[in-house]
């Protein structure tokens, strides 16, 4: 096998290269030649092609993402230890502790091979967390599937849920929440996003850079194989003069056991102070890790590719450079600590090889079989990729869509019809009980899970002595974003913020996963532009920084893009998890209050979708200042222990919140809507099903009534007593007085039977 060497590239300047098949445009190829002053070797071409891909370079999104760094206030920097651009952002949560978290997409692999795609999605995001020096402590998944009744949906659901269950459980990380939505727009493009959170002491923070000339570059973890090579069929074609195996699978295969051992091994290495810099191997494998480490450090690196331990000895140098084999890490190690480093990896039976060292040449030089096959300035690979200002066009269809409001749809006024619609919503796939999925996830492991699904946010204790912890929630309503991506993105942030606030935690940081259609479609690019503007404006208004995230484009089949789906994750801090607030009441005789006001906001709602199969109009108004005030009010109430439960009102409005609050612990409620109708000037259907923002229901022990109402009034936040919690047990019911009564068992049953009916 003859590798294409630098010498050879100089000698044969006119050799035809398959740059187009590797996804590079003619002008990008020309730019590579200009940078190098010659044609690239096949290895260099492989590196540039993957690192300049949309996935790795953010070339279509970069110019917009800058806003997250620009729209900041001093308060947003207070807790920020590491911002965007690293493997994951890090925030200071006090007492010497820090938290790192990030959400990432694994959409395309999960459609092709749902089980492995979803499994390795978990594995990848967890390695980002380890790379920061943190112990991973929780995961969540944000899933969007096609229509429930479509036969292919069951295949994807079973595979994705099985993959997350397999990988996450075997890795020993509690799965504490997430989202599951069904909509036909995701039929050909399901979304599988994975979020992970890690904790670390401040002094354990690690960054991905290769500094210190003479320091060793060490690759450890699983062996490198032929799995996950993007465009493998191209690489293995004649163009690369390869005699190696052809048609390698493009989806990676996960080994959670290897990753679990890798976590423990890395943490022991950190404890021993044996690592100077570290980077996980994800997309673009060794190409990415070497070029990013070198570009972020002193700029030079020498690597001997022969030292890479291989699963398959027939791999070509290009394949080794591009392989996305899972469960691998690359560390920068001082020579004097190498022996101790190798002792730790040997203890954990983790295979390790020294690939090379940090140099001061400013070049990333890679040798294979005695030949120089790569000699590049690493920043041209990892940092200075192309940036595009894609054409943007206001969608031709959106004015008509916005004009088609749900407010003109028939709203029932009689009890029996309201009752029937209430139950239809409860049983609708997006609002139905997701236990069929979540009972396949372990939330007990590690013993620190204070809240998890179906609570509005997951919560983890960080410090067993003080009770310090964090709460995290993710949200996105793609239907709102289709109606208005600017407002939809803000609504996603507002909802996640509220979901964290209802647990008693104080929101502190944001991560996002921006799932969109093709950036080459100007109307999709408009949606993206508007969503990023909306989210960055909202973060600034709420004074909460985006610390990292991910962009996933090309989520479209043919001409039909998914709804814009900017998933927003918010992480909050709680001083003592013992003061956490659950999302459902557990006691009889507590008063139920509704915070916030209700208007006719049914456009894009679950009610419009379920009852009328309608999507049109304008999404609910969002008042960010009011959301912050609500969060502050809930935090105050939690500190004084004034509320026994708090539940966000969002999809399905008050109706769904009540359904969840009574069925969780089987404690019924008597509710009266009259005062809402009177104060807000709305009808009963609106009171039940509107999705107006800034609203929460809470339960309050009667002895705390005066204090609680006083707190709300002092803060000027609208509050109404709307009922009282009732008896538990077989006789428990939800009594919406004057309209309808439903046994709690019936609500729970209708909610629970939907998913098993389609996927059981």
């Amino acid at each position: 096998m003859s590798a294409d060497t630098v010498e050879n590239a100089i000698a044969t300047p006119d050799k035809e290269q398959p740059y187009a098949a590797l996804g590079l445009k003619p002008d990008e190829y020309a730019r590579i030649k200009e940078i190098l002053g010659r044609r690239p070797t096949s290895g260099e071409l492989a590196m540039y092609s993957v690192m300049w891909s949309e996935h790795c370079s953010y070339k279509s999104s970069k110019m917009y993402l800058r806003q997250f760094g620009q729209k900041v206030t001093p308060k947003m920097r207070e807790r920020l230890m590491v911002g965007m651009g690293e493997n994951a952002g890090v925030i200071d949560i006090g007492e010497g502790w820090a938290v790192t978290f990030k959400v990432e997409s694994h959409n395309h692999p999960s459609y092709i091979e749902p089980f492995q795609g979803a499994a390795t999605g978990v594995g990848g995001i967890v390695r980002d967390i380890i790379s920061m020096g943190a112990r991973p402590v929780a995961i969540m998944d944000q899933l969007r599937f096609g229509a429930v009744e479509n036969a292919d949906t069951a295949r994807v659901v079973a595979g994705v849920v099985g993959g997350i269950s397999f990988y996450g459980n075997c890795l020993g990380l509690p799965n504490i929440g997430g989202e599951t939505y069904f909509d036909a727009v995701y039929q050909g493009n399901p979304l599988v996003n994975a979020l992970a959170v890690g904790v670390l002491r401040h002094e354990d923070l690690h960054l991905a850079n290769a500094s210190g000339v003479g320091n060793k570059i060490v690759l450890f973890g699983a062996r490198t194989g032929g799995d996950g090579i993007g465009g493998a069929s191209i690489l293995a074609s004649d163009s690369f003069d390869s005699t190696g195996p052809t048609k390698r699978p493009a989806v990676q295969v996960g080994d959670p056991f290897a990753e679990k051992v890798l976590i423990e091994c890395c943490l022991e290495l950190y404890r021993g102070g044996l690592v100077e810099g570290i980077q996980d191997l994800g997309a673009a494998g060794i190409s990415c890790a070497t070029s990013e480490l070198a570009a972020n450090g002193d700029g030079g690196m020498f690597v001997e590719l022969d030292n890479v331990l291989l699963r398959d000895p027939t791999l070509t140098s290009e394949e080794i450079l591009m392989s996305e084999s899972q469960e691998r890490m690359m560390a920068v190690v001082e020579p004097g600590k190498l022996e101790a480093f190798l002792a730790v990896t040997a203890k954990w039976d983790v295979e390790t090889s020294v690939l090379g060292e940090v140099t001061d040449t400013g070049r990333l030089v890679i040798h294979h079989n005695g030949h120089e096959i790569v000699n590049v300035d690493p920043s041209t690979v990892a940092v200075d990729g192309p940036v595009y200002e894609r054409p943007v066009a206001y969608p031709t269809w959106i004015d008509a869509l916005n004009a088609d409001s749900a407010s003109v749809l028939a709203r029932p006024t009689d009890g029996p019809t309201l009752r029937e619609q209430f139950l239809s919503l409860v049983a609708s796939p997006n609002l139905a009980d997701k236990s069929m999925i979540t009972t396949q996830y372990d939330y007990f492991v590690m013993g620190n899970t204070a809240l998890s699904f179906p609570d509005d946010a997951g919560m983890i204790r960080v410090d067993e002595e003080s009770g310090l912890g964090f709460s995290v929630a993710t949200d996105c309503n793609g239907r709102y974003c289709q109606l208005d991506p600017y407002q939809g993105a803000q609504l996603a942030l507002a909802e996640a913020y509220r979901n964290v606030s209802v647990t008693g935690a104080v929101p502190a940081a944001v991560t996002d996963c921006l799932n969109f259609g093709s950036p080459e479609n100007p109307e999709v690019m408009w949606q993206f532009q508007r969503a990023v503007e909306g989210l960055s404006d909202a973060c600034q208004a709420m004074e909460i920084p985006v610390t990292g995230g991910n962009v996933s484009f090309y989520n479209q089949t043919g001409d039909v893009a998914i709804h814009p789906t900017p998933v927003v994750g918010v992480l909050g801090i709680i001083d003592d998890v013992a003061r956490r607030i659950p999302s459902a009441w557990q006691e009889e005789g507590h008063n139920i209050y509704l915070l916030g006001v209700t208007s006719v906001e049914l456009d894009g709602s679950a009610w419009a979708n379920t009852i009328h199969n309608h999507l049109g109009g304008r999404p609910p108004a969002v008042d960010l200042e009011r959301e912050v005030a609500l969060g502050s009010l809930l935090h105050g109430a939690a500190l004084e222990g004034l509320v026994t439960s708090a539940h966000d009102l969002s999809d399905g409005g008050l109706a769904q919140a009540l359904a969840e609050a009574v069925s969780r612990f089987g404690v019924g409620a008597r509710v009266y809507l009259d005062e809402i109708l009177e104060r807000d000037g709305v009808d009963a259907a609106t009171a039940l099903f509107s999705e107006s923002t800034g609203r929460v229901i809470v339960s309050v022990d009667r002895t705390d009534d005066v204090k609680f109402v006083g707190l709300c009034e002092a803060r000027g936040y609208p509050v109404l007593r709307i009922g009282v919690t009732d008896q538990r047990g077989a006789e428990a019911e939800l009594d919406v007085q004057g309209l309808f009564r439903i046994p709690v068992t019936e609500i729970a049953h209708r909610s629970a039977e939907t998913l098993p009916k389609y996927f059981g």
């Binding site: 459980n169 075997c170 959670p256 056991f257 679990k260 396949q440 899970t449 204070a450 557990q586």
Partner: protein, 230 residues
């Protein structure tokens, strides 16, 4: 009173077992699979997890770990040993308790707050329970289906070696609803549910009235402390 917890590659609930021992009032001691040293502990816990990724069979590879020769010796001499979930699978693979485990009948991982009946309260790990008591212990496993041939089942039923039985729901298709068994002597107990996850208010299973408030797991550890100190 020192209780050891052995960490194998892929152990997941080892730190939780150490915490439970501390909460119960004993001194937890972390032990490593690759060493031949029990560090003089008075009792042992083989924790849950996916040792060696459950490759080959759940618990099969770990049951041949270096430290297992000391574990088997100690168990045969009467040291209290508790195998939880993957630890139960290891005990079965090492033939310290009867039976074996296979894939859940539902063919996927199951996590639930599981009700059990304490069938035998005379083992080293169950004296703080009453016979026939209903307890609530989190369950989470993929290969938790207890199986044994008919003669073995009859024998362990007759001997009182069935320590725990699933109540209400048999979550994985286990024979005779068996959730946990002991050796003949009663010092070695294995069960699929996780008592170490029902020891701390706020982090246990949901009870009939309150979230995450179940503490029934604590009695496993207080039982063995009483037994050893007796």
């Amino acid at each position: 009173m020192r209780i050891g917890v052995i960490t194998f590659p892929g152990s997941l609930d080892d730190r939780d077992a150490l915490r439970a021992i501390r909460i119960a009032g004993a001194e937890p001691v972390s032990l490593w699979h690759g060493e031949h040293d029990l560090q003089g502990v008075d009792a042992l816990v083989l924790p849950g997890g996916f040792s060696y990724g459950d490759y080959l069979r759940a618990g099969a590879i770990a049951s041949h770990a270096p430290i297992m020769s000391e574990v088997i010796d100690a168990a045969n001499k009467g040291m209290p040993v508790l195998g939880i979930c993957n630890g139960f699978q290891m005990l079965a693979e090492a033939r310290l308790v009867p039976g074996a485990h296979t894939r859940n009948d539902v063919q996927h991982f199951v996590r639930r707050d599981q009700h059990l009946i304490v069938e035998n309260n005379t083992t080293a790990w169950t004296t703080k329970f009453s016979a026939g008591e209903e307890i609530n212990i989190p369950l989470k496993n993929a290969d938790g289906r207890f199986i044994a041939d008919a003669d073995t089942i009859r024998r362990i039923e007759d001997n009182g070696q069935v320590t725990f039985r699933y109540f209400g729901v048999n979550p994985n298709g286990s024979a005779d609803d068996i959730a946990g068994v002991s050796n003949e002597r009663g010092n070695v107990v294995g069960l699929m549910p996780h008592p170490e996850h029902a020891v701390e208010p706020g982090f246990g299973p949901d009870t009939a009235t309150h979230m995450r408030s179940g503490l029934d797991g604590l009695h496993f550890f207080t039982s063995v402390i009483e037994r050893v100190l007796a």
